[in-house]
């Protein structure tokens, strides 16, 4: 019975967050424009200078997916911080429901927003000449990687939103997450980076995640490692981020609100 309640309550909270997303026209419009503009920018402006093998669009799609997910996570952090500064969370907590379902609502809405953005990146990519060689199994595996990554990132964003204490502070999270992919293999192979930066780029979480998608779609990774190897590291990163963020968010929610 209480399981049914938890499901109903989650559904209500998700509906709430999805409605809120749709009613923030500026953020919504930006989230939809970003994949399109970035794709055109990278492929037609920077793409000409790219000296890898094949077309730049074949290289850059996974990078743009993580970049847009970074932006999406910033939106989620801001949404959580906004809620926490509002009386409505107190109201939820004074009701006979699990108050932390507020976070579930945000995370599911975040997942939905990011998957729409990802679909846009893929759609625009295909329109400008991206030709992945993956079969159905490869696509399913790549989709699973994206969902796992976005889920971990969404919980991280929820934890950051709770930790930030203010909407402005939460906003700066977007900046960090949109900067990190540049220092990975998302946009250029690691060997083109200066050696001191290469070490960081090869070992930060965005690289295995991007390489897993690249390997699944195009058959080869830019690092030369096998897809399975990259996928293993990527999943370990995502699982770690998810576990820590989920625990941190749950703890922060109860301690922030019960202060």
């Amino acid at each position: 019975m209480s399981m049914t309640y938890a499901l109903t309550d989650s559904r209500v909270m998700v509906t709430r967050c999805v409605r809120r997303s749709l009613r923030d026209p500026e953020a919504f419009f930006t989230a939809l424009m970003l994949p399109v503009v970035l794709m055109l920018l990278f492929v037609y402006v920077f793409g000409g200078a790219f000296r890898g093998s094949g077309a730049y669009v074949d290289y850059v799609v996974p990078g743009l997916i993580v970049l847009c997910a970074g932006f999406g996570a910033g939106t989620t952090a801001v949404a959580v911080a906004t809620d926490m500064s509002n009386g409505i969370v107190d109201r939820f907590r004074s009701m006979p429901i699990s108050g932390s379902l507020v976070l579930v609502g945000h995370v599911v809405a975040s997942l939905a927003r990011n998957l729409v953005a990802t679909a846009l990146v893929i759609g625009v990519g295909l329109a400008v000449g991206w030709r992945p060689s993956a079969g159905p199994a490869g696509w399913v595996a790549a989709a699973a990687m994206i969902v796992f990554f976005v889920l971990a990132l969404s919980w991280l964003a929820a934890a950051v939103g709770l930790l930030a204490g203010s909407v402005e502070a939460a906003n700066s999270f977007t900046f960090v997450l949109m900067f990190l992919p540049y220092v990975s293999t998302a946009f250029v192979p690691a060997q083109t980076l200066p050696s001191w930066m290469r070490g960081f780029a090869e070992h930060q979480p965005f690289t295995p995640i991007v390489e897993t998608m690249r390997g699944l779609w195009m058959g080869t990774t830019s690092t030369g490692a096998a897809v399975g190897h990259e996928a293993w590291i990527a999943c370990a990163w995502c699982a770690g981020i998810l576990a820590v963020s989920f625990a941190a968010a749950s703890w922060l929610f109860h301690h922030r609100t019960a202060a």
């Binding site: 409605r19 409505i88 107190d90 009701m95 429901i97």
Partner: protein
């Protein structure tokens, strides 16, 4: 006599600084209790503790028959909380807000829709049902907030500063809404810094100051504590004002206007005696007037407030003595 709220010995400190110091509070079923106090007195903390949002460091409470510490879910099912800032989702419409909360309170979708329609009509929001709460006026938002509080018709409603920031007309409207809840048998615990609000709505007023209940009673009882009439004495010069202040136990004193207000029974003999004593002390009053004490005067006489006491411009060193004398009196009453 039955009580919906029975709290004893509630204590809470924040980083070593006590905010609530052994507060006892009872609210009779079906009545309105106003928790009155200046900013920082601990009113909101008290409400948050009683609404299960915060755990007390010490003390116990029973809310509508449920123990606060051992049965918080039972408490949550018996209360609703209207916060200091209207707790509505601004991006949702009035109707969506109500339907969302109704579903969280276990109403089916159909039932939630029906209940939302009822409440929108009852709280005079039917025309604004499809508009986002962000576009509502302050008064409308409060009404929506109160409507949400009434979805499940809980026996106890907490109203934390329900009219803070509202214009006078919206305040009147909110008051009449609260009165209607009371007519339906709801018990209300409201916090306010407005004496007029307590006077208008409350059956019982508890004055909270520095984390302690310093006075409690009906508004009339509290006013009666000060006697029938307050005598306002005005002095011709600063010296006379200060001499008079040293020998009096004022409700309030104003160094700029050189007025001292003293509570009396209102008899001619008492006022005659008072004026005679001042004359003898070399501090004759220049003008005398009387007025009936308001809850304001009660509040000032029982709270340890720095405002409205002695604010002499050129009073020099005497000001400190006078101020501490004025402060000693409320502490006396607190015991």
């Amino acid at each position: 006599m039955s009580y919906t709220v029975e709290a004893t010995g509630i204590c809470k400190s924040f980083s070593g600084h006590p905010v609530l110091d052994h507060v006892d509070l009872t609210v009779e079923t079906g009545s309105v209790l106003a928790l009155l106090g200046p900013n920082g007195a601990g009113k909101t903390t008290m409400v948050r503790i009683l609404a299960t949002l915060m755990r007390p460091d010490a003390g116990t409470a029973t809310i509508a028959g449920h123990d606060l510490l051992t049965d918080p879910v039972g408490v949550k099912e018996s209360i609703s909380l209207t916060g200091q800032y209207a707790a509505v989702d601004e991006k949702l419409t009035g109707r969506e807000n109500l339907e969302m909360m109704a579903q969280l309170l276990r109403l089916s979708r159909m039932a939630a829709r029906a209940r939302a329609s009822e409440l929108l009509a009852e709280f005079d929001l039917a025309d604004a049902a499809a508009r986002r709460a962000a576009k509502y006026s302050g008064g409308m938002r409060r009404r929506l907030d109160l409507a949400i509080s009434m979805i499940a018709r809980p026996p106890l409603v907490f109203l934390d500063e329900p009219t803070t920031g509202l214009d006078p007309r919206s305040r009147e409207q909110t008051w009449s809404t609260v009165r209607r809840l009371v007519d339906e048998g709801v018990t209300v615990l409201l916090t306010t810094q407005y004496l007029e609000e307590a006077d208008q709505l409350a059956d019982t007023v508890a004055v909270l100051d520095h984390g302690r209940v310093v006075a409690r009673g009906t508004p009339d009882e509290l006013k009666a504590r000060l006697g029938a009439e307050v005598v306002r004495l005005q002095f011709a010069d600063q010296a006379a004002y200060e001499r008079a202040l040293a020998g009096l136990d004022p409700v309030r004193a104003d160094g700029q206007l050189r007025t001292i207000d003293v509570a009396t029974e209102g008899s001619a003999g008492e006022i005659f005696h008072l004026l005679g004593e001042l004359q003898e002390a070399g501090a004759p009053a220049h003008k005398v007037s009387t007025y009936r004490p308001s809850l304001d005067d009660v509040f000032l006489s029982v709270t340890d407030t720095d405002t409205d006491t002695v604010t002499g411009t050129d009073a020099g060193t005497n000001t400190d003595d006078a101020a501490s004398a004025a402060h000693a009196e409320p502490k006396e009453m607190a015991r």
